[in-house]
């Protein structure tokens, strides 16, 4: 075969080698690739950190506490439900349960302590609807954390000082707030852009953005004022990947309940409008009793 006069013969190896090299020479790489890799490593980090041995027991403990808290909260909710006819049963349970899992890691006390903390807080939901309470209650107190008011157990995501980072610092998850919610948070985001997504019953009802006081690599503060109809909401703040594929680089989520305005959700109540009734955004008024 090799004795064919025109065959590439034994120098096919050389030919192949030069061809491959020449072909490879033409390939130019993206100069921004290192930055891209770094970014993707930063995104992948939270997943890998769980594999570290020492965090595993903590995680398991947190899950256990969350399960216990969930059971407690649901029990209390059922018990208190007959007292609070005008409060829809499910939403507070979801808001509280979700909050319980968020804060569960810091809840070190035994079960009954937990229950004691939850019980009075749960009671505030129906109490606000009575005019006397609304009048005497400090409006600021409404936005306080429902669980464990004396110690701030609200956990915001850990910050390693380098990776994309978004956190909501106020209001606390699980709190009952007025219709005009002022969100506060921290962010280390590209071009300081933070996206805020408000959802209810799994549907996004509002999408907005905030601009932090500084962009990556600096951490900045951001605020955003939202006007929401009464009901339970999940609010998620995140940084979206510049790839445009909707990847969330870093996010934080809170669950809040927007207090029902006495005259809006409960027509029979004669509570004074007072500080509880700022202008309602008619566009964002989904029916509260959807389920």
């Amino acid at each position: 075969m090799n004795d064919h006069p025109q065959s590439p013969g034994p120098d096919l190896e050389a030919l192949l080698s030069t061809t491959l090299r020449a072909e490879a020479e033409q390939v130019e790489t993206d100069p921004a690739a290192l930055a891209l890799i770094r970014r993707r490593i930063a995104v992948a980090k939270p997943a890998t950190s769980f594999r570290r041995g020492f965090s595993r027991p903590a995680l398991a403990g947190g899950m256990l506490a969350a399960v216990v808290a969930l059971g407690t909260v649901v029990g209390i909710n059922v018990a208190s439900n007959d007292r609070a006819q005008d409060v829809v049963a499910d939403p507070p349970a979801t808001a509280l349960a979700a909050d319980a899992s968020r804060n569960a890691e810091s809840a070190t006390g035994p079960n009954d302590t937990m229950a004691a903390k939850v019980a009075p807080a749960e009671g505030t939901a129906p109490m606000v609807d009575t005019p006397q309470e609304a009048a005497t209650q400090d409006p600021g107190a409404m936005s306080r954390l429902k669980m464990a008011p004396q110690t701030p157990v609200h956990k915001i995501p850990l910050d390693d000082g380098r990776s994309p980072y978004v956190a909501i610092t106020a209001p606390d998850s699980g709190s009952i707030v007025e219709k005009t919610v002022e969100l506060k948070g921290l962010a280390r985001a590209f071009e300081a852009n933070v996206i805020i997504e408000v959802s209810q019953n799994g549907k996004v009802v509002k999408k907005d953005f905030a601009t932090a006081s500084a962009g990556a690599p600096d951490k900045g503060e951001w605020t955003k004022t939202l006007s929401l109809a009464p009901g339970d909401y999940k609010i998620e703040a995140y940084e979206e990947s510049m790839k445009g594929d909707g990847t969330k680089l870093s996010s934080d989520t809170i669950w809040i309940t927007v207090a029902a305005a006495p005259d809006a959700s409960n027509p029979t109540s004669e509570a004074p409008a007072g500080p509880l009734a700022p202008a309602v955004d008619p566009a964002a008024t989904p029916p509260d009793a959807a389920r």
């Binding site: 096919l12 192949l16 491959l20 072909e23 490879a24 690739a33 992948a44």
Partner: protein, 182 residues
Amino acid sequence: MVAVFGADQGNGEAAVRWEADDAVTHLYQEHYRALVRLGTLLLRDVGAAEEIVQDSFVAMHGSWGRLRDPEKALAYLRQCVVNRSRSVLRRRVVADKHMPTPGPDEPSAEYGALARLDNQRVMACLRRLPTRQREALVLRYYGDLSEAAIAAAMKVSKGAVKSHTSRGMAAMRKMLEQEQST
């Protein structure tokens, strides 16, 4: 208490991560381009090759705790690139059946017409080879790797590398001859 825990974890993580980050930087500077080129030769698609190599770097960073050695890490990266290229090719098979793939990037005008013709012929033959044979040839004649390194990158035995290489070469020779005789 929350803050203290956060700071602790941050420091502990940072010590481990710095090493892995350094490894990424060094390996990137030295080998990124070559790896992309390797991927491109296997896939004839620069974009896909870059993506694969970036994926491989991310994966390498993740398992740095296990590798801890630039040599091993490079072998790991090579293996990732070969492996992921295979997956891409596998996925591509279906698409290829329905629609002709675009040709390779046009070579630059700096190459002589004759050399270009030669190169194109050789590359065309290479592309018609089965995946394993192509991998073996590219790793050997572009990557200049030893048989052992090729075997590691392809996750096959040394004997298999030998047979893939010789069969690949024989097939290429045959194809080129056929072309010349027509």
